[in-house]
């Protein structure tokens, strides 16, 4: 259904979190995973091209996940990139905002590899249609 070789960008300001999430992706079978520590760094990495999936935290310094999402969606090169937002708990109003801004799905921390896989399945199922 999806390519396990696709290049994924994980965005989180806390190194341990990046490592945990990276491990979860690896557990599912992905290999090509890059990291960025905030939205601004993520954006410049994305601009360099080659990414096929973004998994970003919401709350970060400099540029948060929501800002990043809006920037990605308004960028002609990037606007169709699948974007998975990581949130702390089901903060409904925030999720609504994110969906409005064009997020493909969201996932609530903490999550397991299985939950992550389910979300990925959903995202790519929809995109495939």
């Amino acid at each position: 259904m999806y390519n396990y070789k696709m290049k994924i960008l994980i965005v989180d300001d806390f190194p341990t979190m990046r490592r945990i999430i990276k491990n979860l992706f690896k557990q599912i079978g992905f290999e090509n995973i890059e990291e960025a520590e905030d939205g601004a760094i993520a954006y410049s990495k994305l601009k360099n091209g080659g990414y096929e999936f973004i998994c970003s935290d919401w709350n970060m310094p400099n540029m948060d996940g929501f800002e990043l999402l809006k920037k990605v969606r308004s960028d002609n090169d990037l606007k169709s990139l699948p974007f998975l937002m990581v949130t702390a708990e089901a903060e409904k109003q925030k999720v609504i905002e994110a969906i409005k801004a064009g997020v493909n799905n969201y996932i609530v921390k903490p999550f397991t590899a299985e939950t992550l896989k389910e979300k990925l399945d959903k995202i790519f199922e929809k995109l495939g249609k």
């Binding site: 490592r19 491990n23 709350n59 925030k94």
Partner: protein, 571 residues
């Protein structure tokens, strides 16, 4: 997980501790500044991140505490509740609790903490104010959205959310590329660099000798140039490695706002803390060892130095006391100052105390200079307050401060003025592993004396030395200083029987004395090697080194000599 879980946990612990360390000073700053959205946001984010990572790792208690604290911080940030001293206390308690929980994880002791009271306290903060915030119907409506949201179907009306409210203020933070390196690996590099420095010194020696002997030989010239270049590169490398071990002193200073706040609150005093020079970089080992002495000095300043508000008012002083902590680099030394505008040290009281404690006799007290009297506070078992307070009376006194700082090859200077305040000045060398020394000879033995402790060197004739009351003294341009034979101190072979003597003037802050010896051989950059089995804090030797000629030479510790010879501290 495919990665080693232990490794992730240890990484989490380090990062979590670092994050928590940031909260204390931020909160004290907010308490001072009042509502500051940026600062609150930063604290909020730290809690938030901590909670997220702890959740993944299954540390439920951390999640619970961080979650409740985060709720309070969120309401605070959004202006739904206001600042109170109680609120600050509870949040700071939460930080303490989180540290404790992290410690349990680190030590793997499997202990649990009772967090129910803390959680209740945190929730109480929310309760109290949620009633008050009922006025804002907009807010409460937003928070009542409980319906789960299907992925794509969004009810347009629920989307009318005030974006401003949730938008997180962009944060200024420098992005630095950093790499975490095991300290042991760094120390190994430092050690090896030391070895390279030693080899370089030997090589320089040989080449200098060759150059004298075969000055015309082009190959020797070539070698000379190459070694000169090696000399330069080695020096640069040494500095680079040294810098790798340097960290801003902020790491230590960051704890002080909270410390001063807690102590002054518990004593009912008003104290403003001013911190400057926190970007000054010092060696890692200084960071590790300077904390406790500084905490002790600051405690003393708040406890004994700063007067109560009514006393200050009566004396026409500003009701709020001030403590200024600063750090700066001076040459190849680091100076850290702790200055208060309190009542100063009463030297007569100090002397009285020292007499009753049997530390000095009445006659000695009479003869004592001001400086000598101040130094009495560093005597073991000395304390000017009779009733041990909760804060200062822990059985450790200022003597521990002095010992700890001596371990860093540093010293403390105290100046005080009655009614105006006291200043503690800690002076430590920039680096501890490589130092500049003066090579000297006394009798048949060679020694190295750290250059940082030497004020001057001169040559005198033996008849300039006189003896007063059994103490040899020497008059240097009108200053009378005690003089000691180095070979007598070290128990080495007898000194040369020459009419002319070399003298090294040692300065340890205000304490000065002279060492008489037979020859000055010159300045050298050396690497301190520890001597196995030698207790450096109870001897006059810092360690040993290997010279350019390949000789093993003892490095003298002037502070140790002053203790041992002048008896400033009982040994």
């Amino acid at each position: 997980m495919s990665d080693d879980l232990d490794e992730i946990i240890s990484e989490f612990l380090t990062e979590a501790e670092e994050s928590l360390d940031k909260i204390d000073p931020l909160f004290v700053e907010i308490e001072k500044k009042g509502h500051d959205k940026d600062l609150l946001n930063e604290i909020f984010r730290i809690m938030h991140t901590l909670k997220g990572a702890a959740g993944f790792l299954g540390f439920q208690q951390i999640v619970d505490v961080a979650h409740s604290a985060e709720n309070v911080l969120k309401k605070l940030r959004d202006g739904e509740i206001t600042f109170t001293k109680n609120l600050t206390d509870v949040i700071l308690h939460s930080v303490d609790m989180l540290r404790l929980l992290l410690d349990h994880i680190k030590s793997k002791d499997g202990e649990q903490e009772d967090i129910t009271y803390l959680l209740k306290d945190l929730d109480a903060l929310l309760q109290k104010d949620s009633e008050a915030s009922q006025i804002s119907t907009q807010h409460s409506e937003n928070e009542n959205i409980e319906s789960s949201i299907p992925d794509a179907k969004i009810n347009e009306t629920t989307c009318q959310i005030n974006e401003e409210k949730e938008k997180i203020a962009p944060e200024k933070r420098e992005c630095q590329q950093t790499l975490r390196v095991d300290v042991n690996k760094l120390d190994k590099v430092m050690d090896l660099t030391g070895e390279v420095v030693l080899v370089r010194n030997r090589l320089l020696n040989i080449v200098n000798f060759l150059e004298l002997k075969y000055a015309d030989d082009p190959i020797v010239q070539n070698l000379f140039e190459t070694v000169s270049f090696l000399d330069l590169v080695t020096s640069d490398m040494q500095i680079a490695v040294m810098k790798m071990r340097m960290q801003p002193i902020k790491k230590v200073f960051g704890k002080f706002p909270r410390l001063v706040r807690d102590i002054s609150n518990s004593l009912g005093k008003e104290v403003t803390l001013k911190v400057s020079g926190e970007d000054t970089e010092v060696d890692k080992s200084v960071i590790e060892h300077i904390g406790d002495p500084l905490v002790h000095i600051i405690r003393n300043s708040v406890d004994h130095g700063i007067e109560h508000v009514d006393v200050r008012r009566a004396n026409g002083k500003d009701e709020k006391g001030t403590i200024e902590i600063s750090a700066y680099q001076k040459g190849n030394q680091i100076v850290i100052e702790v200055k208060d505008d309190g009542k100063g040290i009463d030297l007569n009281k100090v002397k009285e105390k020292a007499i009753t404690k049997g530390l000095i006799t009445i006659e000695e007290a009479g003869r004592m200079s001001e400086n000598e009297a101040i130094n009495l506070i560093f005597q073991p078992g000395f304390s000017t307050v009779d009733i041990a307070t909760e804060l200062s009376g822990r059985g450790v006194g200022m003597d521990v401060v002095k010992t700890n700082i001596s371990k860093l090859n540093g010293y403390v200077e105290v100046s005080t003025k009655k009614g105006e305040g006291t200043c503690f000045k800690i002076i430590i060398p920039l680096t501890l592993a490589i130092i500049q020394v003066l090579m000297v000879r006394a009798g048949k033995s060679y020694y190295a004396i750290p250059l940082s402790n030497i004020e001057e060197t001169l040559k005198i004739s033996k008849k300039d030395m006189t003896s007063v009351a059994g103490q040899n003294i020497v008059n240097i341009r009108g200053r009378v200083l005690p003089i000691y034979e180095l070979s007598a101190i070290t128990g080495g072979n007898g000194a040369d029987n020459e009419p002319q003597r070399y003298v090294v003037v040692i300065a340890l802050g205000e304490t000065k004395f002279c060492l008489a010896l037979d020859e000055l051989l010159g300045q050298e950059e050396i690497v301190i090697k520890n001597i196995d089995g030698l207790q450096t804090d109870s001897s006059y030797v810092l360690g040993a080194t290997i010279t350019g000629e390949g000789k093993v030479v003892l490095i003298l510790d002037p502070a140790g000599i002053s203790r041992y010879k002048l008896g400033l501290i009982n040994t």
